[in-house]
Structure formats: C-alpha cells, structure tokens
Amino acid sequence: MRIAYIAVILFLVTLGSVVFNFTTPFHFDAIGSNWELIDITVYITFIVCGVAFVALGLLMAWWVYKFQYQEGKFAEYEPENAKLESQLTIITTIGVVVMLAPGLVAWNDYINPPSDAYELEVYSKQWNWMYRFPGADGIFGAAHNKYVDLDNPFGMKPGDPYGEDDILITDKTVKIPVDRPVKVLLRSQDVLHDFWVPAIRAKMDAVPGMVTYFWFEPIVERVYEVLCAELCGRNHFNMRGEMHVVSMNEYSTWLNDQVTWAGMQAGAVPLSPEAALGRDIANDAGCFACHSTDGTQRDTGPTWLDIWDGTVELDDGTTRVRDEAYIVKSILDPHAEIVLGYTTTMTTSELTDEELQSILDYMKGLKSAPAKQETTDENESENAEPSSEVDSTTIPGEDPSTN
C-alpha cells in the first residue's frame, strides 16, 4: 500500500497548529482593565473550538490513511444516518450555546456603563487624538463639527452654558485615574477612527455625525499606547496617542493644569494679519493634520514650534541648519531631506510664492518661551487662566468635598 503523504501532512499540520498555539509567545498581553469576562469568553471559545479542530483534523488524517484505495474494494454504502446527524446537530448546538452565552452576558455589560462612570470624550481627526472632560458641572457642552475653526478646535457650540467649564486637551496624551470606570464618548471631525488600547481590550469606532461610546475601568497604573484601529487615510499607521493610567492625586493635579473652554477663549491672542493669513493657508493645505504648532510631538511630522532655530538631524545621518532655504525646500520637495525618525507621507504642495511667504511668516512667529504672546490658541497650559472653575475641577460627577 502506498503511503498517503497527505494523511501524514494533515496529521502534522493539525499537531503543529496545537504545538504552535502552546509555544508561541503571541497571546493576549496582561489585561489592564475590568474586561476579564472578554478573556474568559475567549478562553472558553478556545477550548470548544480547539477540541473540535483537533478532533476533526486528526479524524480526517486517520481516515485518509486508513481507507486508501484498493482495486475492487467497495466503499460502505450509507447515504444517511438520521440518528448520527441529529446527534451531531445537538452537540454542535450545545457548543455554540456554551460560547455564545458568556459572550452575550459580557456584551450586556459592555453596552451598559455603570452609573458611577465619569465621562471622557475622545475627539479624533486626521491624524491625531484630542480629549475633553466635562469639567466641574459633570456635563459636556454640546459640540458639533459645524462650529470647528482654528480658534475652536473642538467645535464647541457657542453660548452653551455647559460648555464653558469643559476641559480641552489638544495634546495626544490623556491621563485617567486608576480603578474608576470611565465612559468614553467618541466623536470624529472627519473620517472613521477607532480609539484602541490593546491591553484594555475595549474599542469602538468614532463616526462623524454621531456619538458612539464604550466603557472600561483601568486597573493597572501604566502608560499605554493608543492606536487608531480603523483605516483613516494615508497616515492611519501614524495616528498614535498615549493614555496614562495614574493615581487619583496625579490625575487631579494634571487636570487642574489643563485649560477650560472659557480659558481658551480668553487666552486667544490675535496674530498679525500676515501670520494669520499664513495660518489659514497652512490649515487649508492640511499641514496641521501632521504638524503641531504647540510643541506636541507627533509621529506624523515635526512640530512647527521653534522650527526656525537650531539644527536638525536628518535620516541619512547628516545635520542641517534649519534656515529659510531648508524650510522652503522641505515644503516644496518633502522627500528630499527627511528628519530622523519620521517617514514622509507628505504630498508636494502647490503653493504660490505669496502663499509660501505667508506660511513662512506664520512659522517664524512660532517661538516657545519668549514669544508667549504670539503663540496660537492651540497652546494650552500657558494661556490657561487659573480660574476658580479649573481649581474646583475634580472627578466629574463627584462631590469635591468628599475628596
């Protein structure tokens, strides 16, 4: 009898898959939130499915080996076997119920945030994250994309009393307290995004034109990387953020330093006409999708703050003085010289000389410390007036006196 190589291969593939499963280092990393129920459901599914996989794979290999062709032999003639088929149906149904039941229980938890959860809004745009806390009153002011402009990055509805004390964070980093359930509300300025921290397990898309949500309770103090999990354009892979799960004290201190919407409005200083024009042109050209102007480090492109000074290290190892010639060249031919640590997805800009000059005027004005008066609205903490609202900010929805 010829050896049926395929039987051996099927056997080895089945066995190899099991071995790989147990030896691979690639499994869920340590959970950082309350969603053990997800891990448990995955575990149950692994067991049910794993048993089925091994049983079916080995059975197939064995039977292919055992019932090989022999001239003149007839196969067993058995068109159907109602009893066996109904037994298999029942067994499969039981397996499905075992997997589905915990899943549905967990889903019921997932869509019903606990009543003591505080709210955090994640506002996403191409290609970075911004955050908003409801402030002292614990209620978000209404916000809509139609109100968004350079001085109102969150699109806060003008005149909404609930919005004045909302805390706006334009930095990519957010801090949240450990062991407190948080209901994350998601809004998007442009396209679909998805706020995702692998160790938290939970995620949800941000959809423009509506508000979506999910909730979790972080249980480990640690810095997490935030990813965008829904394709959102050519810089999707660079859309990262940071989520720091910290102690309650650290969180309160940090939050007190953040600017409120009222503070942001008060702190906005008008630019010179040339610089303002340059800012509008740069905005229309989409520059701010990748470059910050307040010193925030983004993976998509270098910040424009203090770009007019000093030197820069390029990815070919050389060092370059950042003079006007360098910046003009970088705008007109972005692929020529690339700053170390970045991949360029920048498209070649078609700007007139006047437009280019306006942008350069604007960039020249972006200086950090001495030129504080000229920094834009996107600069948060320095311009924040330490109003009483900010001082009284604690965990939203919680009485400050209990803290």
Binding site: A142, L185, V211
Partner: protein, 125 residues
C-alpha cells in the same frame, strides 16, 4: 413548453383599474384634507398596500400563478423587512445622539417654499 398563458375575463381588469383610480383618489384626499398624525400614516399605508396588492395579484397575474412561484418570489423580500426594521431603530438612535450631544434642534420648524411666500405676498398687495 406547455404554456396555457394567463387568460382571464376582461371584466376583472376593468374592475381593478377602477379600484386603483379610486384608491389613488382616496390617498390624494388624505393629503387634501390635511389629515395628520397616525391616522394619516395609517391611511396612506393601507391605500398603498392595497394598490400594490391589486397590481401584483391581478395585473401581474400572481393570483393565478402556482404557489411554487408565489412562494419563491415573495419570501426573499422578508430579508428587506429585517433591514428596514433595524435601520429604523438605528436611525432613531443616531438622531438621538445628534440631539443629546451635538446640540441639534429636536423639533425644527419646516420653512415654507419660497413660491408659497410669494403668492401670499401677492394676495397681500
């Protein structure tokens, strides 16, 4: 292939023809008399379904087809009923998030068409 065709007394076509006119006229009257609310929607849907039913059953001869065909044609659209039902639920949900979080007006007043305004102005003169 053996085909007997669909031969039926002409009388029934005239009857249905007439009925369609009458039902269309009724649904027009619903609008003409400005019936509002549930009664309006109920009447519109009833007249619509009656008309659709007559067209399919008599004009398209489905009444006289064998049930094998009727069954084959009328069951798949049930999937559309599921789609429609779920989309209605979800649209309401999306609308509510717009009202709650985005500060949209839950009950905006529709504006009158411009020509309507013009004719009113003319009356005023």
């Amino acid at each position: 292939m053996a085909t007997e065709g669909q031969q039926h007394p002409i009388k029934i076509y005239f009857l249905i023809w007439l009925l369609l006119f009458v039902l269309s006229f009724f649904s027009y009257l619903v609008d003409f008399y400005h019936l509002e609310g549930n009664l309006r929607w109920f009447l519109i849907v009833v007249f619509m379904l009656l008309k659709a039913g007559f067209i399919v059953a008599i004009f398209m001869h489905m009444k006289w087809e064998r049930f094998a065909l009727i069954f084959g044609i009328l069951t798949p659209p049930l999937a559309l009923v599921v789609l429609m039902f779920l989309m209605a639920i979800e649209s309401d949900y999306a609308w509510s998030t717009r009202v709650v979080y985005m500060g949209e007006d839950p009950a905006p007043k529709p504006e009158s068409p411009s020509h309507y305004k013009k004719s009113e102005e003319e009356k005023g003169h």
